[in-house]
Symmetry: C2
Subunit: 559 residues, 2 copies
């Protein structure tokens, strides 16, 4: 019979852990001269207790074979995160606890720090459990609830606590407490920090810098362990590491892949150079991982993409082949009477470059039938956005038919610039099971496209060079109704990512009319984003999930 | 120059309000023998500072005319709520403050308690401002952040504080602190509680009971003031009241309408009977208010509904006429080859009962064109859900064309039972700008339908009597693929509203196969609800917004 976590779990006693520490005999089974730590960076699935537990136990066994003193896993490793409202289901928390008890049974002669949510009164906290010699010794809770996903379902706990492991005093700090709590680590020989911090553009390099400085200023070694993998729209990049007390990296785990590294804190470790980060390559790897895991974790296999011959669908199709294999991707070209010949040609050329199955199905007849049938309602009116949207919605109907009939999952092809200004058709080209490029500005789409072509031409050059057009009326160009994307993107970036007020942007030299117009489009199109599909988060400000504004408001976007 | 709220606003000083109370001279301008209180229950618009301020000032002036000592407004009255991420915009908080300063300038010889968000350090709290004699004397913050909408953007403040008004000691308690804080009111002569608590089925009667008990057990008069009106999907029912220290109602404000009542606490007030509540009538009034305000606050005027001849679209069409007027509603009947004659007849009869414009536009030709065109992809396969969905998506394309061309806002026609089990077509009948019945189980839809027909037949009897059918293939009935709605609704109600585990439901006597099947449908259809339109919230557990589960998870719905 193992130590029952119920003692801690059943009540508000969690907050009295310090007082109860006499319950936890300190077990010292290693001398001070060497401390071997294993860092296990794994890809978990939310609620997959069997799978997650098995992975964790395998890592524990591997660490034991290497005579490791302490193996560290990520925050909320046992359950997978973000679990949203599941965090407040008693049965869910019980399953976490059961898994922890089973993990503990494999931890003879090794200490383990592993994250899971635990009940605290009527609420839930994110905790790191310390297992020593097959006993669950202690839970250390997270104090600072920072992320939007966490705020709904977690309450603050006490924060950093000190424990004895292998004769060292170890400060356990969970999640963002590492950034926000000043007073930890002072009395520790080592700081251990399980985290669950998702990828966003530029975060990998910033995180290395942050931890390097932290280890240096605290003068203590720091171990941090992150998740890796996609959870619907959230992507974890991993990039876990160990820094020594001089702020030098002595273990660096891979980005965007599972990894397991053992490091001896007391050995003469040669400092490792922080790998140079290529932002576009990281975005590419994040998209690929997010897409791949969305499919594998949901049991999906095949994807389809509506190919217009434009840059957005080209990038999405190329990413789909990269993530899922050409044999699992099918493209549908659906030209209308307004599509240019080069669009279909470019799309076909791209399909052949990729070696995927494709069909060209014109929407002309369907468009004719719908506009004819609708004559009693629409007859006598001039061609306008109505007829443009009919085309986009026929395409939605057709690609969804392909999806329904054969089980292809539809990939959305929107980008962040379009989505921000509402330049897309609700129930038309805005549809899909998941959007993989919806958090990338149009200019970033081009960056990724060029990266895709880094070794050979996958996306035909013509797609990269031609002017963007929705091709919904003759000779249409995006610039007919929008400023050029370089201008839109610069203004949007300031509004969204930097939270600048319109006045600030105008003062920075942008055309006032453009700024007000883009702001107004941003505000008026929130209703489209409300109904948008899950979007791989590649920035710290994804629209829809990252910024929530009232649909009915006299205030606008608040910038 | 008025007292500058900046003194409190600029920093963490808000939490030191008690220490700073020497800054607030106590002004006594009324004797102990009479205290007249005005309760102002108003319909605000989020971010409409001009409009909200004007309404508040008008109520203050009206109260002054009646020689009132204290006028009380709702929590977050100045800004309107839920304002989501606007609550963390500095400019938004500044506008709140500016409005407060202007309101204060009208408050000579009267005390005012009015809610607004204020900055507290780097965060925002929900506060009640006390104005006395044109000065902003104090802010009392809310301690318990209970609602899902609040958790994202508000942080806890200190909670209940005591102030002197008209010679009485008044406890100001903001929002849900009234439920959760035990230790308030002990030293008070009166408890004042500005709230912003939305409508949900059954809440009106429960709230009266709760406050009656509270006034009785505390032995203190209690004044609570709520919002009234719709804010996109959120509906406030008003129903503000004053209870005396014996727990008797001495002022009861209207439900679902603005109201303004003056009560003299010390007069010999005759206790008012708590009005009997009719749950269906309340649901009806909530839907009407929600729909009306969604239109008026967004500047919309005209609505359209896709009429199938079934009960759901009939209820939505009748509500649209009730809320917006027959002249602003247009119906579109879009029969396919599988529609029964009676469906079109019933729908036409209903349109004539309502006196609204309508068109019958068959989808047969469009269906033929799409299936013909798609032959290279779908050819040779048997009729299945694919072809059913094509019909629903053609209807979406057509009604959206009507909407795009003439500016009719499309009302969604789904109900909660269908939405819960995923019995609806994404980008088909699941579409719309707003769903007004999407938080009502199918059985409740019938209740509302009968209520609509309470005086005369608006919804043709045949629509109420016939068996529900999507009519997407010949002779189809909902019961072909689903258990009867009475069974579905009972099981869903236990799963969703009562959070029961499957085992509990089976133990209560339900067929195990039905329970597991419905649970599985509930889990598998979350992806459709993710892309669903805003839905008037009529229960405490609206799907999508009220319960958020991971789209990718091995755990299921958590029940």
């Amino acid at each position: 019979m193992f130590f029952l976590p119920k003692v801690f779990l059943s009540s508000s006693e969690v907050s009295n852990i310090e007082e109860k520490s006499y319950l936890c005999p300190i077990v010292i089974y290693s001398d001070l001269l060497a401390m071997k730590i294993a860092v296990a960076q794994l890809n978990y699935t939310i609620g997959d207790f069997e799978g997650n537990k098995t992975k964790i136990i395998e890592a524990v066994c591997r660490a034991k074979e290497q005579k490791v003193d302490l193996v560290v896993f990520a925050e909320e490793a046992i359950n997978g995160t973000p679990a949203y409202d599941l965090l407040n289901k008693v049965t869910f928390l019980e399953r976490c606890e059961d898994a922890l008890v089973e993990i503990a049974s494999h931890c003879d002669n090794i200490a383990v720090i592993v994250g899971l949510p635990i009940q605290s009164g009527a609420s839930t906290i994110s905790a790191a459990a310390l297992i020593q010699n097959r006993r669950i010794m202690r839970y250390v809770g997270k104090k600072n609830i920072v992320s939007r996903d966490d705020k709904q379902n977690l309450v603050p706990s006490k924060g950093c606590e000190y424990v004895q492991i292998a004769g060292r005093k170890v400060a356990i700090v969970v999640g963002q407490d590492i950034y926000t709590e000043q007073e930890y680590g002072r009395y520790a020989d080592l700081i251990v920090n399980p985290i669950s911090i998702p990828y966003a553009r530029g975060i990998v390099e910033n995180r290395y810098t942050m931890y390097r400085k932290l280890a240096y200023t605290k003068g203590k070694p720091v171990v941090y362990v992150n998740h890796v993998g996609g959870q619907t729209d959230v992507i974890y990049d991993g990039s876990s590491a160990v820094f020594n007390s001089k702020g030098e990296a002595i273990a660096l785990l891979r980005s965007f892949e599972e990894d397991f590294v053992v490091v001896d804190l007391d050995a003469d470790n040669k400092p490792l150079p922080i790998p140079e980060q290529n932002k576009t390559a990281n975005v590419f790897r994040a998209m690929r991982l997010g897409l791949r895991d969305y499919f594998s974790k949901n049991g999906f296999r095949k994807a389809c993409v509506a190919m217009s011959g434009g840059i957005d669908s080209a990038v999405v199709a190329a990413m789909a082949v990269e993530a899922l294999g050409a044999e699992n991707v099918r493209l549908l070209m659906m030209p209308s009477q307004f599509s240019t010949d080069h669009s279909v040609d470019d799309a076909v050329k791209m399909a052949e470059n990729l070696g995927v199955e494709y069909n060209v199905i014109p929407i002309t007849e369907a468009y004719k039938a719908i506009t004819e049938t609708m004559k009693p309602v629409l007859g006598g009116t001039a061609f306008d956005v109505t007829e443009e949207n009919i085309q986009a919605r026929i395409r939605c109907t057709m690609i969804m038919a392909l999806s329904n009939k054969y089980g292809y999952i539809v990939l959305n092809t929107s980008n962040k610039s379009e989505s921000a200004v509402g330049y897309g058709t609700l129930y038309g080209d805005d549809i899909g099971s998941i959007s993989i490029a919806g958090d990338l500005y149009k200019c970033e789409i081009y960056d990724v496209a060029r990266y895709i072509n880094r070794e050979k031409e996958i996306i035909p050059e013509n797609i990269l060079l031609k002017a963007p057009s929705a091709e919904l009326h003759p000779g249409q160009l995006d610039t007919d109704s929008l400023p050029p994307y370089e201008v839109i993107d610069s203004i949007l970036y300031r509004m969204i990512e930097e939270g600048q007020h319109r006045e600030e942007i105008i003062n920075a030299g942008f055309n006032a009319e453009d700024v007000h117009r883009i702001h107004s489009m941003l505000v008026r199109s929130e209703y489209k984003r409300y109904q948008f599909c899950p979007t791989l988060r590649l920035s710290t400000c994804p629209l829809g999930k990252g910024i929530v504004i009232p649909l009915t408001s006299k205030y606008g976007f608040g910038y």
